[in-house]
């Protein structure tokens, strides 16, 4: 037996001289660990970190893929904020879109989660049926359906006409096009709903029992137990949905194509067009960085606000 298996002496204020063999074994352990995570590490460096740095560099250049990148300093950024009303409009439209679609979607998801949590028979079938739109909602097929259903001679108008509502070209009307897209986002409330349901089922029932012993009614139990216990899940959904909603692309690109009058020209579509249709790749990179900063600030604000309204069960817990 060598003494490597003995625990290393722990003494304060003394340099611990490690057994070289134990050191060697530890190094080998670390190398194995790095080898094991290396697929991700390589991908992370090659496809995330590298491109991000490249993107930062490109944002200070004029680059169209055909000729080399030409350094132009902060000109792209200046242009974005002072001389590109389309960009300012895209940011505005995106913020409106996010601020309407996310709360409505989550409210809907939360409401139905409460409804299904009462545990009536058949509610699990409903849960799964309501979950389907979440799975297929981002597909091209559903975009095709939406575009056709909300067209001026589409199913929605045919239905509304029975109630005497004048037909409107929903997709092409400047005041309605964004609502059509928001409706599609809300329609996919299934996955936050399932996360809410799982959260609801994790609330220990003895909390409710204790509360009813203390004479708390259903409403007080709801506001004092259910909602506070659910805040971590609400927070998770809020962060994930906000980021996701910010970058909505496929549906907008296919249903309204950013129109009419740029009323639905969400920033993801505008970045795509700038880069791949107008081939202004440097300019698009600058745009992407501004958007990343906006998202980072919003996320940071959400995390900072969490201190005031999100309740975690035990301090110092995971």
């Amino acid at each position: 037996m060598n003494n490597a298996s003995l625990p290393a002496p722990k003494q304060k204020d003394k340099i611990i001289i490690e057994d070289p063999q134990a050191r060697k074994r530890r190094m080998k352990k670390y190398l194995t660990a790095y080898a094991i995570i290396s697929p991700w590490l390589i991908g992370f460096l090659a496809f995330i970190v590298g491109p991000m740095l490249a993107s930062l560099y490109l944002s200070f250049t004029s680059y169209d893929l055909l000729s080399g990148a030409e350094w132009i300093g902060v000109q792209n950024y200046v242009q974005l904020f002072t001389n590109d009303p389309r960009f300012i409009n895209a940011i505005k439209v995106t913020l409106v879109f996010v601020m309407l679609s996310v709360p409505l979607k989550l409210a809907f998801a939360l409401f139905l989660a409460f409804l299904f949590n009462t545990g009536r028979k058949g509610s699990s079938i409903f849960t799964t049926v309501y979950y389907i739109p979440s799975i297929i909602g981002g597909s091209v097929a559903i975009a095709v359906v939406w575009r056709r259903m909300f067209g001026s001679d589409g199913a929605i108008n045919a239905f509304l006409e029975r109630f005497g509502v004048e037909p409107v070209s929903w997709v092409m009307h400047p005041d309605h096009a964004l609502s059509v897209l928001i409706l599609l986002i809300i329609w996919q409330f299934g996955s936050p709903m399932i996360i809410f349901l799982a959260g609801l089922r994790q609330i220990p029932s003895d909390l409710y029992e204790a509360a009813s012993v203390d004479g708390a009614g259903a409403l007080r139990q709801f506001t004092h137990i259910t909602i506070p216990m659910l805040t971590p899940v609400i927070f998770f959904n809020l962060v994930m949905q906000t980021i996701g909603s910010f970058m909505t692309f496929t549906q907008v690109y296919l249903i309204t194509e950013g129109g009419p009058m740029e009323r639905t020209n969400l920033i993801a579509v505008y970045i795509y067009r700038t880069a791949f249709e107008f081939l202004k790749m440097g300019y698009a990179s600058a745009m992407a960085w501004v958007v990343l900063l906006i998202i980072a600030v919003i996320t940071l604000l959400l995390f900072l606000s969490a201190k005031y309204w999100v309740h975690y069960e035990a301090e110092g817990g995971r």
């Binding site: 991700w40 491109p51 991000m52 389907i132 799975i135 597909s139 095709v144 939406w146």
Partner: protein, 259 residues
Amino acid sequence: MIYPILWMVASSLKPNYEILGDTAASLIPSTFVWSNYTDGWEGFGRYGFDTFFKNSLIITSLVVIGTLMSASIVAYGFARLQFPLKKTLFVCLMGTIMLPVQVILVPQYILFHNLNWVNTFLPLIVPAFLGGAPFFIFLLIQFIRGIPKELDEAATVDGCSTIGIYWRIILPLLQPALVTVAIFSFMWTFDDFLSPLIYLNKPELQTVALGIRNYMDAESGTNWGPILAMSTLSLLPQFILFAFFQKYLVQGVATTGLK
């Protein structure tokens, strides 16, 4: 709630004039136009949906395989092994889940362009083998944390190596989670529109999603029946998977929200 889906299936069997106007909302076609499916399958150009489905299936199955392999082993590393900078790298991993794809879209395109990978399936497939789906890594880390550590320790005592533990202990116990990952990965890749749109410009390389979009661009207004027929077909794999594996899907989603 599922009206749009029913409408799609019903309309895919309607004659074109019934998809529009007064009869648009109805869910029962007056006559069943099965030829919408055969017409649609032929597509509009030189390449039909047989090509598009084949392309989609090749890309999707390779992505699923790559994701399963890379995500499971990387998750094992993060969940069980100790190494320097682990905390920092974990934060990076979580950060990439939230990173908007638009930020890296342009330089990634330039990278793949310089590698001469544009108009091949490689830009869509290779990242999957290199942990390109951090969300799934996170999901599997959560699952592995639920596996008792005593099993690893017992195996170590019995002389099992680090890789051996992954192969003999973790992987078999991870099977339900891997099914979840496989299904999600399949559905998302099959649905994906942005990457094929950017990287696959040749008609013979296009996926189902791209095919439908181009079909809509080329013939909307005159030919909605076949377009909707192909849309319905494109969702068929999703519906089949959902019917058989809904439990895994629901559990998978529920797990992500609860640490």
